[in-house]
Symmetry: C2
Subunit: 164 residues, 2 copies
């Protein structure tokens, strides 16, 4: 019988492992060069006094098998919190063990226990594998909405324009 999948919250000494998983996820979706974060960034923002995100780690036989990194969001329409899944990653060699599904379900369960009513995430429009995976779980495409954003230097210029 194969070793079971266990889930636990990430700790500050998992930071190198978490960062490594993000790099592999980036490579997987062809965006490796976009990752400029360091383990120190994750340590600082994720494990300080007011953590900007939470992590859930899956292990199989004591080995790192997957990661779900998430943070809380809020629906003013429903008046209730939700959870945003920023990154979901499963090690290639542990595919077929429903590691991703377990991670997402646990994150949803924890969100629900805290009064939450929804889960959201973004997916690359050309990542058909990921889209099919989410759809199968009932995490459907929100076709009527689109994301707008401003990042980096453009963001700084926008923020720095003097107020009248």
């Amino acid at each position: 019988m194969p070793a079971p999948v266990t889930l636990r919250p990430g700790r500050i000494d998992d930071v190198e492992t978490i960062h490594g998983a993000l790099l592999r996820l980036g490579t997987h979706i062809g965006a490796h060069q976009e990752i400029t974060s360091t383990p120190d960034d994750l340590r600082r923002y994720g494990f300080g006094e007011k953590p900007a995100f939470s992590t859930l780690i899956a292990e199989i036989g004591g080995e790192f098998a997957g990661l779900c990194l998430h943070f809380p969001i809020f629906s003013t329409w429903m008046g209730r919190p939700g959870v945003y899944v920023q990154d979901l990653y499963v090690e290639d060699r542990f595919r077929g063990r429903r590691v991703g599904e377990r991670l997402l379900r646990r994150v949803a369960k924890e969100c629900r226990a805290a009064g939450g009513v929804y889960l959201r995430l973004s997916v690359d429009t050309d990542n058909e594998t990921a889209k099919a995976f989410y759809e199968k779980l009932g995490i459907g495409w929100s076709s009527y909405e689109q994301v707008q954003k401003i990042v980096g230097d453009a963001f700084f210029a926008f923020a720095d324009t003097p107020e009248e």
Copy 2:
């Protein structure tokens, strides 16, 4: 000379005003019936010990002119925080005073001061006015990503499925 636009954080006694603005925003984009939140929800989740969101209110001559409701997010790619704008609303009679732009710029400025590097939001794909407004400010369409979500009863069923 017209009265200037002033900006200030929302307070707990603004909750009815904020909720009213959300209802008018919902009506404006044809989603009024989807708003099931109450002022009490906003009070509970926005002004308690661990607020799930922040509000910025615009006033002109002491009158409510607009609202930006937002909460923090985090980019693991960049290793830095950002801000998500959940709702942006401007009273019809104060259009043309760049109230929306001022609200967004102030929210971006506060995010930047806290180490943030980006701003995100969602917009209805058929809301051409809103899309043109955001594009003009440099808050561009993130065309390569799409939103997936699971909400309400489907979310509860997903979260409640027993783990193996």
